[in-house]
Subunit: 464 residues, 2 copies
């Protein structure tokens, strides 16, 4: 970066929009564990799409690398800058600009926190279905760039399925104005798809048109204890059959997850004993309150009769439903009760009928490296997605060996190395397990076409 570059930025932006040196607060360059990474050269905080465009045009011309930041809740180190990069923070483009209940659409700026969108939409009796534990901090721009999943994919799909249109600024500052609200719009190549889930390497999302849905009058949650994995899959099939379109979550927790969360996370109360092998959280939603209750009760009765579940509790108030969700949503807090350096997180997709065998294989193999290593497993089993945390307290230096081992087994099971977290920097060495060489070369070709000077999140997903 030429020395005069920051001066040039200051000419274009006001003082509060360009931070350098001691004005750069720690949150722009600290990871989730609170550890600092390299301090960026500057932090630029645009207020408008035109400012994003002006900034990128300059960076493109001078080949200055940029790290775009949303809520900094990503899990693959994609938004952490290095010392040669300028941070593009979207935090001041955080408005929810429009909620249209007749059309079933909302428009938000990229930096709008997910929870803010939830609240604005809920005021109108509607819902935006993407929901995840980081809802208070994560932004819709980050959700789009990583194609976030979360708890209700089983009913509403991933972020990709809920985006109607995007406004995007490309690396050279061109604004692709695609903020359209049509559900059906087959007019040539669907460019917005390129910017969803590509982790900011092809362009910067500045605005999004989202699909919203009438909020259901009732959400009822059941927490069920299941004695074995085959019974989990049978129970999932039964829940789909009984609840149909009312089934809005089917979340699985292995014993260790449930037990340790109840034991270690402050404020979490477990309504069931902690000795069962598996725990399933089933959510049913809909407008017929009585029917939702009756359907859930019938499901639980049938599951008990067929010995699929051995214990269960049903929410009878919003507070009790929230308390059950709290268990499932505490994965981050549970992780933070362990030493950061002796823990590796995985987020994999694989065939549901192989999940049991897969987790057993991993549980056994990690012990060949660290005899006291153990697994904490939970996930969105209905979507074929598991989260695994490998804890290796006694061998903190063996992280890479364990990581390689788990990804190798994931490949052997035809799994994907990232279901919803993305690749970023952290999973880049393993991308070839989930993508062929030809696919990775095609991604590089796209990168060259969209960002010939390699300024947008360079080195994320793959190197050039």
């Amino acid at each position: 970066m030429p020395d005069w570059f920051i001066g040039e930025l200051r000419k274009v932006f006001d003082k509060s929009s360009v931070l350098t040196d001691t004005d750069i607060e720690p949150r722009y360059y600290h990871d989730l564990a609170g550890q600092p990474v390299d301090k960026p050269r500057a932090v630029v905080r645009p207020r408008t799409t035109e400012q994003v465009s002006a900034f990128l045009r300059l960076c493109h011309r001078e080949r200055v690398p940029v790290a775009t930041q949303g809520g900094m809740t990503g899990l693959v180190r994609g938004a952490l800058p290095n010392s040669s990069e300028i941070v593009l923070s979207m935090e001041r483009m955080n408005a929810v600009e429009e909620v249209d209940t007749l059309a079933g659409t909302a428009v938000a700026q990229a930096g709008a926190p997910l929870q803010k969108i939830h609240e604005k939409v809920e005021q109108e009796g509607y819902m935006f279905p993407i929901d995840l534990g980081a809802r208070g901090s994560c932004t819709i721009g980050g959700n789009i760039s990583t194609n976030a999943g979360g708890n209700r994919v089983i009913r509403y799909g991933m972020t990709r399925d809920l985006i109607l249109g995007l406004e995007v600024v490309t690396a050279d500052g061109i604004v692709l104005q695609g903020l359209r609200k049509h559900i059906k719009n087959n007019t040539g190549i669907d460019l917005k798809q390129l910017f969803i889930g590509s982790e900011g390497i092809l362009g910067v999302v500045t605005r999004a048109a989202l699909r919203i849905f009438p909020a259901p009058a009732e959400r009822q949650v059941a927490l069920c204890a299941v004695p074995s994995f085959p019974q989990v899959t049978s129970f999932l099939r039964m829940a789909r059959k009984h609840l149909g379109g009312e089934l809005t979550a089917f979340e699985l927790m292995w014993n260790e997850y449930y037990r340790l969360t109840v034991e270690r996370v402050k404020g979490v109360i477990g309504p069931l004993p902690t000795h069962y092998p598996f725990y399933v959280l089933v959510e049913a939603s809909g407008d017929h309150v009585d029917r939702i209750h009756a359907d859930q009760e019938k499901l639980l009765e049938a599951a008990i009769v067929e010995n699929l579940i051995v214990d269960a509790t049903l929410s009878n108030t919003n507070a009790s439903a929230e308390a059950m969700w709290r268990i499932r949503d505490s994965s981050g807090e549970l992780a933070r009760t362990f030493r950061y350096a002796a823990r590796i997180s995985f987020d994999v997709s694989l065939a549901i009928d192989r999940m049991d065998e897969y987790t057993r294989a991993i549980g056994a193999s990690i012990k060949t490296i660290d005899t006291s290593a153990f697994l904490i497993v939970f996930g969105h089993v209905g979507d074929g997605n598991l989260h695994l945390d490998v804890h290796h307290e006694n061998t903190p230096t063996k992280g890479e060996d364990l990581e390689r081992l788990v990804y190798q087994i994931t490949g052997d099971f035809d799994g994907s190395i990232s279901a919803e977290h993305g690749i970023g920097i952290l999973k880049r060495p393993y991308l070839k397990i989930s993508r062929t060489q030809e696919e990775i070369e095609t991604m590089r070709m796209l990168k060259r076409a969209f960002d010939p000077n390699h300024i947008l999140n360079p080195g994320r997903i793959f190197t050039m």
Copy 2:
């Protein structure tokens, strides 16, 4: 194309795979009205992905243009060849290779007819939700290349939403092996999205992994007469509220569509009188037979009480449900009862609350060109998608003027010029109404990157 090129093809493929001259049957170069276009130089009919790859490698090297063909049911002249092109027919890659009910996936070759996929999946008690009038002829490869919509988008989404993975051959013969079955797979740029809905200009789809769903035990259809458009939108809201996830179709027919179909299409019987302004076909599906019936009846009762509908009939057998669907599915047959040359078809998306004003504006404006011109309108109103046929029997030479007029009004209403049919050759002059210049230039950039010699469906969507 060099003279020796056909000879080269014959060396690589057996005799039945390369057709020339009189061996080329009319179906490869006749449009939907039965009119011939230019005869292609040859028709190549590969049996395997490797053969598609070998063929494209040759064409790429020698810069020979290719027109890829599925079931030839497209409505925008995208698959019709010209005399310099070789037809790549996918008709011999038509196997449904796998149906996995546990995973909820099916794998089909691109040339598999949609109906064949339906039948194979139904044998296992499952369904593939994409459904359209052309089901008997159209292929899944064509459905993917055009991102087909159809009758159940309101519940299951477009083709894009139902594709888990694709195997694609690029212009230079490289096979992108992305036939994966994960619902969640955030591992870099989601390349398959580029080949869905891009009408074959970036690559040739050879195989697809599809999402399938348990077939509902019951599908009940109601046909309802509605006195005005505002009542249609209120009825739609009520249907969504009452039926929730059970609502699998909400199809609207304007009076002219219903009346003329009943009067002119052989074998169609209208269960309601033909004088009502609007007719809505509502389908509810689910596993609880009694509940589906009770919910539909309650919906109709409530709609009658609130004066949203003035007449209705409910299917009590599969045959009566099929008879009602037959009315909605007869748009092609209805069109063929009129002179082809004096009819223009439109497929637009726009805000639901502006549809009434829009159709009135078009109905009035076409009369400024042809005083006896009239409109036939129907569509997937729940998805914001209308089909309009403009008939101008007395001014067959005014087609272009009328077309320009309708698209101009569509632009004025912020509509999309293609909801589900695509652009092809036919709508190319109007693409700029629905896409900005920057978007079209970005599409051109992608075309150059993926197909530098411009051999794949050249001139479709845009020119280079």
